[in-house]
């Protein structure tokens, strides 16, 4: 955990080609999910005549705006399966991509502050174990041993009554994850096209046959949407609706500190989550703004609320300075679970709705979405996450494990 272990800053890890007039598949969105999808399309399905279109710069949206936490301690079988698969991929990806993005399995604690929290947490530990996800229940003393700077006294407003702990969970350097995927995609022949905004779609009947962009029209047989907060804007262009609401979600970092925080601590109830970056910044996540928004910033009162919680739990943070705040646009669904699958438009597929949890799911999102795009059918892992669940009622209600209320 020191600066001299950081990977070299990349120079030119991918080409910046002009878009060709046609591709076998076009992925809209050059964030982690879009890049991972292109990687698995090339690696697992041999589709290399493909393009990733990014309206801004590579991985400059939510991929650059999250708090980098990776865990798989979700409640329901469907979620545990996909997030645990993602975690297993995280464990092997640095070697596979030949790029060390500093995946640090330092463990994640989810604190419980009320009897209701305790019951729900113990239940989740049981569910996790049944699903082969590593999980433990810790009492306040064990919490303190793992993270000595946490205040476990019982005279605060919401005392720590224990925590769930997932030892294999952790953090990774998000920028380096994106660059690692982009570099491999490029090696495999994928065209990564930045500053290329999608402005419309070409359709023949109900089948998509091309994409209109700020760099001209691109013909393609298949389109995969992986644009997070802007998924419903794209869907509207293509002529269908998504059950998505976009909200700003913000986070912040302090200036650099000596290593003081050895793990990741999250609290749903008082709402703050904290880890210490490899360089030494305290990285803290806040809540979403309650209202719909596309402005990449969050409200000040949300940060105020988050800081109050942080200082009560970590008294030594009281004199730390905020260095930088930022916001991303998260695409939330009513059941706090993602949508990965087919759409009402033929040959158009969507990966969205990851809400506040998209980063940790990146490899599994890419793997299953690539499978769906290549074969036209869902992978076993993303079958339950189809758009149809809002009609059938087979929802996957993960509000409890989503960590950010939305």
């Amino acid at each position: 955990m020191s600066a001299d272990h950081l990977p070299e800053h990349p120079d030119f890890l991918w080409r910046n080609p002009e878009p060709k007039s046609s591709y076998d598949a076009v992925i809209v969105g050059g964030g982690g999910h879009g890049l991972a999808t292109a990687y698995f399309l090339a690696k697992n399905h041999g589709m290399t005549n493909i393009a990733v279109l990014e309206k801004g710069w590579l991985a400059g949206g939510n991929m650059a705006r999250n708090t980098t936490i990776i865990r798989s301690n979700y409640l329901w079988d469907e979620s545990a399966a996909i997030y645990e698969h993602a975690l297993k991929l995280w464990e092997i990806l640095p070697e596979e991509l030949e790029y060390d993005f500093l995946f640090s399995q330092r463990g994640v604690m989810n604190l419980a502050h009320t009897l209701g929290d305790v019951r729900e947490s113990v239940r989740r530990v049981g569910a996790n174990k049944l699903n082969g996800v590593d999980a433990e229940w810790l009492d306040p003393q064990q919490v303190k041993e793992l993270c000595p700077i946490l205040n476990i006294s019982d005279n605060i407003r919401y005392p720590v009554m224990g925590a769930t702990y997932q030892p294999r969970a952790g953090i990774a350097k998000h920028d380096h994850v994106a660059w690692a995927f982009a570099r491999k995609c490029d090696e495999l022949g994928v065209d990564i096209i930045q500053n290329c905004e999608v402005t419309g779609f070409l359709k023949e009947g109900n089948r998509v046959v091309g994409v209109k962009t700020s760099q001209g029209t691109i013909h393609t047989e298949k389109v995969g949407l992986a644009a997070a907060g802007h998924s419903s804007v794209l869907a509207e262009m293509a002529g269908f609706r998504l059950p998505i609401q976009s909200h700003p979600l913000q986070a912040l970092v302090s200036e650099l500190h000596e290593p003081v925080h050895p793990t990741v601590v999250m609290s749903n109830h008082v709402h703050v989550y904290v880890s210490q970056a490899h360089k030494g910044e305290l990285v803290m996540g806040a809540g979403v703004d309650s209202y719909n928004g596309y402005g990449q910033r969050g409200s000040f009162h949300v940060i105020e609320h988050q800081m109050a919680a942080a200082v009560e739990l970590f008294p030594i943070f009281a004199r730390a300075h905020v260095l930088r705040t930022w916001g991303g646009i998260v695409d939330t669904t009513m059941d706090a679970s993602p949508i990965i699958g087919t759409t009402p438009v033929e040959n158009m597929f969507v990966n969205c709705g990851w809400g506040t949890g998209g980063f940790k799911g990146t490899p599994a999102a890419g793997l299953t979405f690539a499978h769906t795009i290549a074969t036209g059918a869902p992978h076993e892992l993303n079958k339950p996450f189809a758009l149809e669940r809002f009609e059938t009622g087979a929802l996957i209600d993960e509000h409890g494990a989503a960590a950010v209320a939305h």
């Binding site: 309650s290 719909n292 669904t333």
Partner: protein, 104 residues
């Protein structure tokens, strides 16, 4: 933070209010007749407009009354506030810009 002009109490900080989502979503007239698709539309599908959006708010810590608001979801400019039951006003929207400065 938004400064919201409650129609009953006047301008107050956003923290006094709660958000109620898209406005003008009517209850189904004949619930028995709805298909699963129509139920899904009613329960889970809402507009997610980038630009002028009509939404409901309640002044929770004030008069506790609901009202409607027309707000730009990019610039957060509040364009109109009007009573429940009134139609969405026809407001000339200002040209909002994204944080990158591009026209939306």
């Amino acid at each position: 933070m938004l400064l919201i002009s409650c129609p009953n109490c006047g301008p107050r900080d956003e923290t006094e209010f709660h958000y109620g989502g898209q406005a003008h979503v009517a209850y189904p007239e004949s619930p028995d007749a709805l298909t699963d698709r129509q139920w899904a539309e009613y329960l889970f599908y809402r507009d997610n407009t980038k630009g002028a959006f009509a939404e409901r708010w309640v002044h929770s810590t004030g008069c506790r009354q609901w009202f409607n608001m027309l707000r730009d979801t990019v610039s957060y400019d509040i364009q109109a506030i009007y009573k429940m039951g009134e139609p969405r006003p026809d407001v000339n929207t200002t040209a909002a810009t994204t944080p990158e400065g591009a026209k939306k």
